[in-house]
Symmetry: C2
Subunit: 189 residues, 2 copies
């Protein structure tokens, strides 16, 4: 495992440190130590910390959304059930050790005002997630607007679970989503 390619080891170390402690709180030397790579190699792969941060966010976005999509598609069921499965997946995520909220919201709050690429990454991540929910909602036959409501619930659950350190926000959000969704679907075929 430790003879993986250096780029992956660097990104793994950076992700754990950046996500767990915040980006500014982690120096390049900490990334170097955690990844077991030499400083020269570190800067060879990522010419600046900004590049590393960007790669960290980009890889995490892809992994996060892929993991969600896999869980939801494996859950099967109707589109309505799949929308609710999103919140089950959130609940599993919240319960993971070291969960500390949305990496994109955290980095947006920390660096969004000064580093445009971080703000853009956060916006992109949230847009993709909203778009994913919108696709499921449309398949479920829900009226437009419902997807946005569910996205707000998910977003709120993530933040609430992080600040309170309590994964039950996912179940609350799921219940609210179910109420909204079934009400929205009630007047439809």
């Amino acid at each position: 495992m430790e003879h993986e390619d250096p780029r992956t080891r660097i990104l793994d170390a950076a992700e754990e440190l950046f996500y767990g402690q915040g980006i500014q709180a982690v120096g390049m030397d900490a990334v170097r130590t955690a990844s077991g790579v030499t400083m020269r190699r570190l800067y060879q792969h990522f010419p600046s910390k900004n590049d590393l941060v960007e790669a960290y966010l980009q890889r995490r976005d892809g992994r996060w959304r892929a993991s969600l999509a896999v869980h939801v598609s494996r859950a099967g069921g109707t589109p309505r059930d799949q929308l609710l499965a999103v919140f089950d997946w959130l609940g599993q995520w919240f319960a993971e050790p070291g969960f500390r909220g949305c990496a994109f919201v955290n980095s947006f709050g920390e660096l969004g005002a000064t580093t445009p690429v971080v703000a853009a990454a956060a916006r992109h991540h949230k847009e993709e997630f909203s778009g994913y929910l919108a696709g499921l909602a449309e398949a479920a036959g829900a009226p437009p607007g419902t997807a946005a409501h569910l996205a707000l619930l998910a977003e709120g659950a993530i933040t609430t679970a992080a600040v309170h350190g309590d994964p039950t926000a996912a179940a609350d959000a799921r219940e609210a989503a179910r109420l909204l969704l079934d009400a929205a679907l009630a007047g439809r075929p």
Copy 2:
């Protein structure tokens, strides 16, 4: 206005800078310059940056919740209307220039893992807000759980408005809240 007491001027400058750029991105020297106070006086009132950060969060929490409570109580109407007025107030907040999301969520993401007092301030702020909503929901006769649903919507709206830079999240959240609330109140006197 510039001969207000130094403590207030320091806190005003710190709030604008910390909220607008993130805490770590703002040095004590920037606070000193913006407040027009001497370095000695700055450290006389706040012996360390941590103390200043703590005071910043504490004052902002009080102001934020007081402003919300004033708006809601002035809105009058039934408890149901007051709950919806919360989201109107959010919409006004989102439209303010320089809006950049919840100061507590932002500082939690930035420093929550390393600075316990920041994590505690964020938790306290969210608990107070949830408690406020719970009081209104109980007055409205909503079943338990509804307040938590509305809190998730509000939380999600704040984050979404910040990342997208678009205040319409408040209207979306208000509409979802209305649906949840009226459904919850339908089977009650």
